[in-house]
Amino acid sequence: MNDLDRGGRRRFLGRIAASVGALGVAGCDRLSQTEWFPKVLGSAEVLNGHVAKLVTGRKAMAQEFTPADLSPTFRSNGTADPNNPQYAALAANHFNDYALEVSGLVAKPRRFTLAELRALPSRTQITRHDCVEGWSAIGKWQGAKLSAILDDVRPTTAARYVVFHCADPMEQDGTSPYYESIDMDDAYHVQTILAYALNDQPLPIKNGAPIRLRVERQLGYKHAKYVMRLELVDSFAHIGDGKGGYWEDQGYQWYAGV
C-alpha cells in the first residue's frame, strides 16, 4: 500500500526529472530557432529599455572620467579599415574631399565638410565605451554636437529617428553597409557628438575616421564608425532589414542602453 504509493510517486518524479533533463540545452536551442519564442523573449528586452529610460530620465548624463583613466590604446572592434574603394580614395587624400550629407525629413538638407564640422559647437568628453561583448575601454572624444547639426538642418516635426549610413561594408563582397539609428532624445542629448578626434589626435581609421557617432548611454554597436550620411526618418522599415541597424538586423536589440 504505502510502498506502492511511494513507488508510483517516485516513478512519476523520476519521469519529470528525465523530461526536464531531455528538454535541457537541446530544447532551448530548438526554441531559439522558432519564429515565435525569440519574440516572447525579446519582449523583456523592450521592457528593459522602457524601464531604464523611465528610471534615469531623458537627460541623464553618462559617467565621465579623468585623463588618468584613459586606456593606453583604444581597442578597434568590427571594421578596422573599410573594404570600400570610395572610402579608400577619401582616406588617401586625408579626408579633404569628405563631406557629411544630411538629408531626409529636414527643412534644409546640406553637406558639411570636415572643416565645417570642426567649426560647429563641440564637446570634449572622457567616457567609457561598453561593448555588448562585455569589455570596456576609456577614451577622450572631441566632436561636433549632433544637436548643432540638427539645429542647422531643422528636422521636420515628422522626424523620429536619425539614421547613420556608414562607409564600411559588412559583407566580403562589399555589400551590406553598416548603419545605425537613434531616437531624437538621444540625438539632442548633450553628450551625443560626431567625434573627429580621439585622445587629442585626429580619429584613426581603425576607430572610424573621419567621424564616428558617440552616443554614450548605449552599448558600442550603436556608435557607428565611418559615418557618411545622416538621414532623418519617421521609420526605418525601408532600410536594411528594417530593424534600425546592422546588428539589429542580426537579432540585437534596437535600444542598446541595457
Partner: protein
C-alpha cells in the same frame, strides 16, 4: 527502506496516499513557497546557462572601469595552438595557467571541436549566439525578479521569515554543535527535523538577502543607461568591469550553494525532501530511520 520503484506495480495517485499512523506526513512547505521555489530553479538555471554564453563573447574578467587599462585580466579562458598545431584550451586565474582542453577554451560537441569559453553543454544557446543569449538572460531575469519580490513579500506577510528563517537565540547558541553535526552527517530527527537548523537558516538568509540582491544589482550595473544614475553609481563598486567580475563570482557562489543544498537534500532523504517541495508533505525522520 527500498528506494527503487517496482515497475510491475502500477502507479497510484500521489495525492490519495493514506497517512501512516506511525509515520506522520506533515505539511512542510506552503504551496506558494513550493511554486516560487521551482520557478526560481528554472529562472536561475537558464540565467546561469545564458549568462555563460554571454560571458563567452568576451571570456575575460577585469578589475576597475576598463578592460584596457594596462593591467591584465584576472581571469581569462582561451584557446591557443600547441607545437603540433592542435588547439589547447586554457584557464588563466590570477597569473596561474591551467590546461582545460575538453572543458574550457576548447571543447567538442557531436565530434566537432569548438573554441569557446564554456562548453556547449553548459550554455544557452549551446553555440556562440550573443544576441539570443541576451534575450534568454533578460527574459528570465524579469521572471526571477518578479518571483523574488513575490517571495520576499510572502515570507514577510505570512511570517514565514520571522517564524522559520530568522534564527532564534537558542539557534545561535547551538551553532557550534550544528557545525559538528553537519560535518558528521548527523541530521535532526523528530520535532527538531520539522524546523530548519541554524546553518540552514543562515545559508538561506544569506542567499535570499545578500547574494541574490547583489547579483541583480551587479547585473543592472552593466547597463550604460542605468549607470547614469547618481553620476555613475557603478563607480561606488569599483567600476563596470569590477561589477561584471562580481556578477560572475556571485553566480558561481550561487552554484556552490546549490551543490551544497542538493547534497544536503540527498543525504537527509532525497525522495522525502523532494516530495516535500512538490506536494508539500514531509515524513518526519525518526531515530530508527536509516534514510
Amino acid at each position: 527502506m527500498n528506494d527503487h520503484a517496482n515497475p510491475a506495480i502500477p502507479a497510484a495517485p500521489a495525492a490519495a496516499a493514506p497517512i501512516s499512523k506511525s509515520r506522520p506526513l506533515y505539511l512542510r512547505h506552503a504551496r506558494a513557497v513550493r511554486i516560487m521555489h521551482w520557478i526560481n530553479v528554472v529562472a536561475l538555471t537558464l540565467m546561469l546557462m545564458s549568462g555563460l554564453q554571454i560571458f563567452n563573447a568576451h571570456p575575460a574578467l577585469y578589475w576597475g572601469d576598463s578592460s584596457y587599462s594596462g593591467r591584465p585580466a584576472w581571469l581569462e579562458i582561451g584557446a591557443k595552438e600547441n607545437a603540433q598545431g592542435n588547439p589547447v584550451g586554457y584557464l588563466r586565474v590570477l597569473g596561474h595557467e591551467f590546461t582545460t582542453t575538453g572543458t574550457l577554451g576548447v571543447s567538442s560537441d557531436d565530434g566537432q571541436t569548438y573554441m569557446q569559453g564554456f562548453p556547449s553543454w553548459l550554455t544557452v544557446p549551446s553555440h556562440q549566439w550573443l544576441a539570443m543569449a541576451r534575450s534568454w538572460h533578460f527574459f528570465f531575469a524579469w521572471i526571477f525578479l518578479i518571483n523574488g519580490l513575490c517571495y520576499v513579500a510572502y515570507t514577510i506577510a505570512s511570517r514565514h521569515l520571522a517564524r522559520d528563517l530568522v534564527p532564534t537565540r537558542d539557534d545561535v547558541r547551538g551553532i557550534g554543535a550544528s557545525i559538528v553535526d553537519h560535518l558528521r552527517f548527523r541530521h535532526p530527527t523528530g520535532e527538531a527535523a520539522k524546523r530548519y537548523n541554524v546553518l540552514q537558516k543562515f545559508a538561506y538568509l544569506f542567499v535570499i538577502f545578500v547574494l541574490l540582491p547583489l547579483i541583480v544589482l551587479m547585473g543592472l550595473g552593466m547597463s550604460p543607461r542605468l549607470d547614469t544614475l547618481f553620476g555613475g553609481w557603478v563607480g561606488w563598486f569599483g567600476g563596470r568591469q569590477t561589477v561584471r567580475s562580481i556578477h560572475f563570482i556571485v553566480a558561481w557562489t550561487l552554484v556552490a550553494f546549490v551543490l551544497i543544498h542538493v547534497f544536503e537534500v540527498i543525504v537527509t532523504g532525497f525522495w522525502n525532501n523532494l516530495r516535500s517541495m512538490i506536494t508539500g508533505r514531509y515524513r518526519v525522520p525518526q531515530e530508527d530511520d536509516h534514510e
